[in-house]
């Protein structure tokens, strides 16, 4: 039996994913990706090249002993380990993901560490877990001193970003995003579902899932990594398109000093998207079969791939328009 089965049955899983552009001028090839992701000497990095280039580090464990956040102020101390790993997609998008699961009840005293170490990624509550309050507390983010899985994901990201392989020359400006998730068991043997997907702040997304009992938390984390990756791609490409100006722009009350360049041309602004991002769209590439239906729901509403295709089409149209020599254009497409 694997550790997943030996632990008491989990009734709540939770995690946070950080997603950012790899700060390197060139995408990393599979060898360099493996080097970056070698977080532990004793375990290999998973590298796969189909259907796209993807590398994933072994899990690292962080021991925790602190209260769980809760929405109703209930104070639940919990002890265990949080698993964290990093992934690199097409040598270009870096993600770190920290997650754990919680059984419904735990012993009311702390056991020796050996007990927790054989249950990687399990955090046991003292006594009974007030599941709903803790699930909401985790989504809202912990207060000072409470378990904050985002800190663990963030710490791993900081560590990776210091790697000497990275030349710190990102090809485009982009913002990192955070996706925080909780998963509760489904009732009456229903299939998995997304209860809520929100864009809480500029960079923060929260997801509340229902998954069949017994779903491995690593698989849920894998689904959430995939959501976070594609959400980041959409966000980043939308921002690139927001940054281009078409036509002469709004006239100002007073003319600005000097010519109004300094701003990249449309082609300069769109090129990094073509070079580095457009080929990354591949939802469900590594989502387990049990959880894949969740993507179908997102494709219907809000329609991730639909939006992506519209964005890609817009970029291609703009580039086509700018490929026409100026003499043949009736109207200038850009200032």
């Amino acid at each position: 039996m694997g550790p997943e089965e030996t632990a008491a049955r989990a009734v709540l899983a939770c995690g946070e994913v950080r997603t950012c552009l790899l700060p390197a001028g060139q995408a990393l090839d599979s060898r360099a990706a493996a080097q970056l992701l070698r977080l532990r000497a004793d375990e290999r990095v998973l590298v796969s090249e189909r259907p796209n280039l993807y590398g994933r580090s072994p899990d690292t464990l962080t021991g925790v002993d602190c209260p769980l956040p809760s929405s109703n102020g209930a104070r639940v101390r919990a002890v265990g380990t949080v698993a964290a790993r990093a992934a690199l997609t097409e040598g270009r998008v870096l993600q770190t993901s920290a997650y754990f699961r919680v059984p419904a009840t735990g012993p009311d005293h702390r056991r020796p560490w050996g007990h927790y170490l054989v249950r990687p990624g399990v955090v046991e509550p003292f006594g009974k877990l007030p599941r709903e309050a803790v699930a909401q507390g985790l989504l809202d983010g912990g207060g000072l001193g409470e378990l904050d899985v985002g800190l663990i994901a963030g710490g791993l990201l900081t560590r990776l970003l210091r790697h000497p392989l990275l030349d710190q020359r990102p090809p485009l400006r982009s913002r990192p995003t955070r996706l925080r998730w909780v998963a509760l068991p489904t009732q009456h043997g229903d299939g998995p579902s997304i209860e809520r997907f929100t864009v809480a702040e500029d960079e923060l997304r929260t997801v509340r899932l229902r998954v069949p009992e017994g779903t491995r938390s690593a698989e849920i984390a894998g689904l959430c990594d995939d959501l976070a990756l594609h959400d980041w791609l959409l966000t980043t490409v939308v921002h690139i398109l927001d940054g281009i100006r078409l036509g002469p722009g709004t006239p100002r009350a007073r003319p600005l000093p000097g010519p109004a360049e300094g701003r990249p041309t449309v082609v300069q602004a769109l090129r990094p998207a073509v070079d580095h991002l457009l080929h990354l769209w591949m939802p469900r590439a590594r989502v387990s079969r049990e959880l894949a239906p969740l993507w179908t729901a997102l494709e219907e509403q809000p329609g991730f791939t639909r939006q992506w295709q519209a964005l890609v089409q817009r970029i291609r149209d703009q580039l086509t328009l700018h490929a026409i020599p100026p003499a043949s254009r009736e109207v200038e497409p850009s200032p």
Partner: protein
């Protein structure tokens, strides 16, 4: 692009001018971060008019971040969180303007290797996210100055472009002090070379901004007597000679901000509205700020053809 705002003395208008430069760049569409490394006397909250948003950031500011007490410093979206009615209507096509506040009551502290690494992490992260990062540094050869000199010499920062603006007022004492801050034995250049910078390259990245400069031609002085006008002219010329002797002459000046009553009385952003509708600010001041903001990234003003 990183821009470090330094001054030898307080009261040079460094913070208010650099905040205005950040604002002007955001108006033109750049994503701009304003980083308050003025440890001990953070003023950015007043300039950007975000006192409400500052509540709750007391222990999550840059000071706490550098000391390792928090892993991410607080950030304040100025367009969204300002209480300034004109700023709240974020102009269409403007870029983001994000303030990274210092901690309330956080003083100077000693450099250590961890703080340096965290400073590099932060500057690299901002460089990946923003087009322009304005870092306001405490006056004098402060800890903040040492920290960013070390950070920009760090191998991880080797491809991140940076520039320095040294602000000073247009008086004898301030001209001498500003020159000393850069050129003296314990100045920025020497400190930079000690930390691994190439002297010539570093010097090429430093420009001066003369602030609160009375313009004898300005309507403010129009009613002065001929004797006053002649005296001002003579003083201005003497100061120019002094500045040139101290190696901060016109060739290394990025811009001149005229003496502006509203900046003297209240540190604030100068909007187009202040000039056109209410006319409480002078058009020349706004134009000077716009011009300096533009020159920040105009290589021809930085000795590069």
């Amino acid at each position: 692009m990183l821009v470090f705002a330094a001054s030898d003395k307080g009261g040079t208008g460094r913070s208010v001018t650099s905040a205005n430069l950040a604002y002007q760049r955001a108006l033109t569409g750049d994503h701009v971060a304003y980083v308050d490394f003025d440890f001990g006397s953070p003023t950015a909250a007043a300039v950007f008019d975000v006192p409400g948003a500052m509540r709750g950031t007391e222990e999550r500011g840059l000071h706490s971040y550098l000391e390792g007490e928090v892993t991410e410093p607080a950030r304040i979206d100025v367009w969204r969180q300002t209480e300034h009615p004109l700023l709240r209507a974020r102009p269409n096509q403007s870029g983001r303007l994000v303030l990274f506040p210092g901690d309330v009551g956080g003083g100077e502290f000693a450099t250590d290797e961890d703080a340096l690494e965290r400073c590099v992490d932060l500057l690299l992260q901002l460089n990946g996210e923003f087009d322009l990062i304005v870092v306001d540094l405490s006056a004098g050869r402060s800890y903040a100055v040492d920290l960013v000199l070390a950070a920009t010499a760090h191998p991880r920062m080797r491809y991140v472009p940076f520039r320095w603006l040294v602000f000073h007022r247009w008086t004898r004492q301030h001209v001498i002090a500003a020159s000393g801050l850069v050129h003296k034995e314990n100045g920025i250049l020497k400190g930079g070379v000690d930390r691994g910078h190439d002297e010539e390259t570093l010097q090429g990245a430093i420009r001066f901004v003369r602030a609160a400069v009375p313009d004898p031609e300005s309507p403010l002085w129009l009613h002065g007597s001929p004797a006053q006008a002649a005296w001002m002219q003579a003083c201005d010329e003497a100061l120019r000679r002094l500045a040139a002797e101290h190696r901060i002459g016109d060739s290394v000046v990025l811009g001149i901000v005229p003496l502006e009553p509203i900046l003297q009385w209240r540190e604030q952003l100068i909007t187009e509205e202040d000039v056109l509708s209410t006319q409480i600010a002078n058009k020349e001041t706004l134009e000077a700020l716009e011009e300096i903001a533009r020159r920040l990234t105009d290589d021809s003003h930085w000795g590069r053809p």
